[in-house]
């Protein structure tokens, strides 16, 4: 059996060696899976999809007023033809509120939790397979999602709430923007995307509403976009084409934005606007802050590029409930 020229090994030893080799290989595999950085190996930058739905002769925007933010959301969306127009059964929806800051809802630095929660409910009722609420906060994400009340409200309404710790970034084709920017990967996987900004003062762009809210899906380096803020915001509006923009004006931050803090800077407006035209949405929000849309550089540029129309007469005012 044993040949001195070809020393054999026992079956037992062969099994042991194979098993240990397999275990070592599995350990390496697990290590690679856990630690590898997907961003370094992603080959091509992904294109940003267009999430809009074709829309007929409906009004491009409708504003509802009243004390109950949830009722405002329902009425405004209903005026555009109802949520079923925008979200089909089985689709996945990503909702992008502004959860940038570790502030309470009363301070109006983040989107009102009741507005976000009601929108989540509408999408669930329309048969959405998955509703994600996501934002890359400026402050500590845990604190932002907790203080703003959005984690609790949206979670209770049936959404998957993802903060910066659970969102992955991926390189994306952002043609007119700064080099090397990344976007939230979940955004690219969503069938429908709804932008839910809050209306706030901003010292550089004048106001921050819907198109500026896309900063929150961009990774590190987004702070360089401020160097040409008007062009950058218009570019964001051209890059990200949401299904719907829902402007939260339950409370608006009139000064010291976009972080705020003092309740003296907050004005209770009690309105919500639903719009398929993002430029019109921003124009409407700006008017609440007492700014004429034409005086804001990014709105003028967005209008020139044909992204929408900043004509407030196009907004259907639904009045107070």
């Amino acid at each position: 059996m044993s040949d001195p020229e070809r020393p054999g090994i026992t079956r037992r030893e062969a099994v042991l060696r194979l098993a240990s080799t397999a275990a070592a290989a599995a350990a390496v595999g697990v290590g690679v899976a856990v630690f590898h950085d997907r961003r370094l190996v992603t080959a091509a930058a992904a294109a940003i999809p267009d999430w809009r739905v074709p829309i007929a002769s409906r009004p491009p925007a409708a504003a509802a007023r009243g004390a109950d933010p949830a009722a405002n959301v329902r009425r405004a969306v209903a005026a555009l033809g109802g949520v079923g127009r925008f979200v089909r059964p089985g689709e996945s929806v990503l909702i992008k509120p502004n959860v940038g800051w570790d502030r309470l809802p009363e301070q109006a630095a983040d989107t009102d939790p009741a507005v976000v929660a009601e929108l989540v409910r509408l999408c669930r009722d329309a048969g959405a397979r998955r509703v994600v609420v996501a934002d890359l906060s400026c402050n500590d994400p845990r604190r932002c999602f907790a203080s703003s009340g959005i984690a609790a409200a949206a979670g209770a309404a049936g959404a998957e709430v993802l903060d910066a710790r659970r969102l992955r970034l991926t390189p994306a084709a952002l043609a007119g923007l700064a080099q090397g920017l990344e976007v939230v990967e979940e955004l690219l996987q969503a069938d429908r995307v709804i932008n839910v900004p809050v209306v706030k003062h901003h010292s550089l762009s004048g106001v921050t509403i819907g198109m500026k809210n896309w900063f929150g899906v961009l990774g590190p380096g987004r702070n360089r976009l401020h160097q040409e803020i008007d062009r950058a915001v218009a570019e964001l509006g051209a890059t990200f084409r949401p299904t719907l923009t829902l402007v939260d004006a339950t409370r608006i931050l009139a000064a010291n934005g976009p972080v705020g803090g003092s309740l003296a800077d907050v004005r209770a407006v009690g309105a919500v606007l639903a719009a398929t035209d993002p430029v019109l949405a921003d124009a409407w929000g700006a008017s609440l802050l007492g700014r004429r849309p034409a005086t804001l550089g990014f709105i003028a540029q967005a209008e020139q590029r044909g992204l929408g129309r900043a004509d407030l007469a196009l907004v259907q005012e639904l009045g107070t409930a």
């Binding site: 856990v34 630690f35 800051w101 570790d102 400026c138 402050n139 500590d140 845990r142 604190r143 907790a146 203080s147 710790r165 901003h202 010292s203 550089l204 380096g221 702070n223 360089r224 401020h226 160097q227 040409e228 803020i229 010291n256 976009p258 972080v259 705020g260 803090g261 003092s262 800077d265």
Partner: protein
């Protein structure tokens, strides 16, 4: 394995798991109020050290008296059954040392230099009495938490870098790996907490006892003896970690662990009086030297940003045990172990490094987990100044006009102002019109800092788009904790 050993291993696994799990919950920002400081509050070395240095035993550290009581009853069960660093070393020695019986006997024999730990204890306590608290450097609980916080969490997915932490991680790794050659080398020769407990363990009620009649001197008891306390010879009670390996190894059932009458002459630690006196005198001399070496505590340092609520530097250094809990708890990764920022005696104490993270405006987590109240507990209203009193300031931000985009490059940017959390913002924008290189007119908003509003949180420095060295930087001037490190004339002294 006998059932006594199984129970001990279960205890060790349980305490190691709880220790690591609490650190994990801290890093995850779990809002539930777990007893994060439970190990550290039971640490008599920290309690003795802070009592000697600061003249006070802060908060729940008084619980450490319970551990002394336990040691007087059962011996050094903390070392053998609870201490996470002891468990890690024992595990390493169990896994990686394949020794023959002869080698085992050799390696588990007591050495005179194992008394080093008593000298270390004496030096640390005398140093504390002289005003510099360094127990945390070698305290096994601080050392383990620090090594894990600086060495393990930063490399986990989603972990935040701790650039100065590699040395702490390396020390922990070195201690664990050293057990491959000498089991529990750190416990036997260096651990000041073990030495402190050893002083009391000599009087323990429950001890290892060898019945001379049944013993046939087979030496099996010393085969896996963790403390090198020689159960076969004259048992060194102060070195014994009550691992009970000897009890289960004895084929003749000659060794037992039970309540025994007090020893007529408890064996004292194996110390040379001359060396001990020399150690005491040396550390008396070194303590003030350490303090002076870094430029002294009275000198305010620009880069020494302490966490919010930290005591003035004297009080802080008299309490901080370098346990890294605040670093682990910080949600933004701002708190880092000091390497050079705090002088020699402040090595590994926590500092805020704004380029790593900022102090979240309403967050008071670091003070909540500090076991020795070196960082005081603040309410969010107190810290932010929403209670009507001045806010707690860490330092003050300064614009570097040579690097700032609007100031130096005529390029619009307001990121620092946008991020500023105070109300009204400490950073405001001055409108200016400048002539560009091509002769055209540029409208600019140039950031300026209103120092009376600035709390020094550092989010401006953290988010500044100018890479590496930010164009706005926070230094410690104006910090609440130091009434001498002031900027403004009208400001009240504290």
């Amino acid at each position: 394995m006998r059932w006594t050993i199984r129970i001990r291993v279960l205890y060790q696994a349980f305490f190691l798991f709880v220790f690591v799990w609490l650190l994990d919950r801290l890093a995850a920002g779990d809002p539930r109020a777990f007893p994060y400081t439970v190990f550290h509050h039971g640490d008599p070395l920290s309690a003795t050290g802070t009592a000697l240095a600061a003249g006070t035993i802060p908060g729940a550290l008084a619980w450490s008296a319970a551990l002394i009581g336990l040691t007087l009853l059962l011996g050094r069960v903390f070392c053998g059954w609870v201490c996470p660093l002891g468990t890690l070393q024992q595990l390493a020695s169990f896994l990686f040392s394949g020794r023959s019986r002869r080698e085992s006997l050799l390696v588990n024999r007591h050495r005179r230099w194992y008394a080093l730990k008593y000298y270390a204890l004496a030096a640390l306590l005398v140093g504390a009495l002289a005003g510099t608290l360094q127990t945390g450097v070698l305290d096994p609980l601080s050392l383990t938490a620090r090594g894990l916080a600086s060495g393990v969490w930063p490399v986990l997915p989603g972990g935040r870098p701790v650039p100065g932490g590699w040395l702490a991680a390396l020390l922990l790794l070195g201690i664990v790996v050293a057990s491959r050659w000498i089991p529990r080398l750190f416990c036997r020769a260096f651990c000041p907490l073990g030495a402190l407990l050893g002083v009391f363990a000599r009087f323990a009620v429950f001890r290892i006892h060898r019945g001379d009649d049944a013993c046939n001197s087979c030496t099996l008891c010393a085969f896996a003896c963790q403390g090198a306390d020689e159960p076969l010879g004259r048992h060194r009670v102060g070195e014994c970690m009550v691992c009970l390996n000897c009890v289960s190894a004895c084929p003749e059932s000659a060794i037992g662990y039970r309540a025994l009458p007090p020893l007529p002459q408890p064996p004292p630690p194996d110390l040379s009086r001359r060396t001990l006196v020399g150690t005491v005198l040396t550390s008396l001399a070194v303590a003030p030297l350490l303090r002076a070496a870094g430029g002294g505590r009275a000198t305010a340092r620009a880069g020494l940003l302490r966490p919010p609520g930290a005591l003035a530097e004297n009080g802080f250094l008299e309490r901080c045990v370098k346990c890294s809990l605040c670093q682990q708890a910080c949600p933004t990764g701002a708190i880092q172990p000091a390497i050079a920022q705090a002088g020699v005696e402040g090595f590994w104490t926590p500092v805020i490094v704004p380029r790593r993270g900022w102090c979240e405006f309403a967050c008071t987590r670091c003070g909540e987990v500090c076991p020795t109240s070196a960082i005081t507990r603040l309410s969010a209203a107190r810290k932010t100044g929403y209670d009507g009193k001045p806010p707690v300031r860490i330092g003050t931000a300064f614009v570097d006009r040579g690097r700032c985009l609007p100031w130096a490059m005529q390029t619009p940017c307001i990121v620092c102002e946008e991020m500023c959390p105070t109300d009204p913002k400490a950073i405001w924008l001055e409108a200016a019109v400048e002539t560009a290189r091509d002769g055209s007119e540029r409208r600019l908003q140039r950031p300026r800092v209103e120092p009376a509003r600035c709390v020094g949180c550092g989010i401006c420095e953290n988010k500044c788009p100018v890479g590496e060295d930010a164009a706005i930087r926070v230094t410690s001037v104006g910090e609440t904790r130091n009434p001498l490190n002031r900027l403004l004339a009208g400001e009240p002294p504290s």
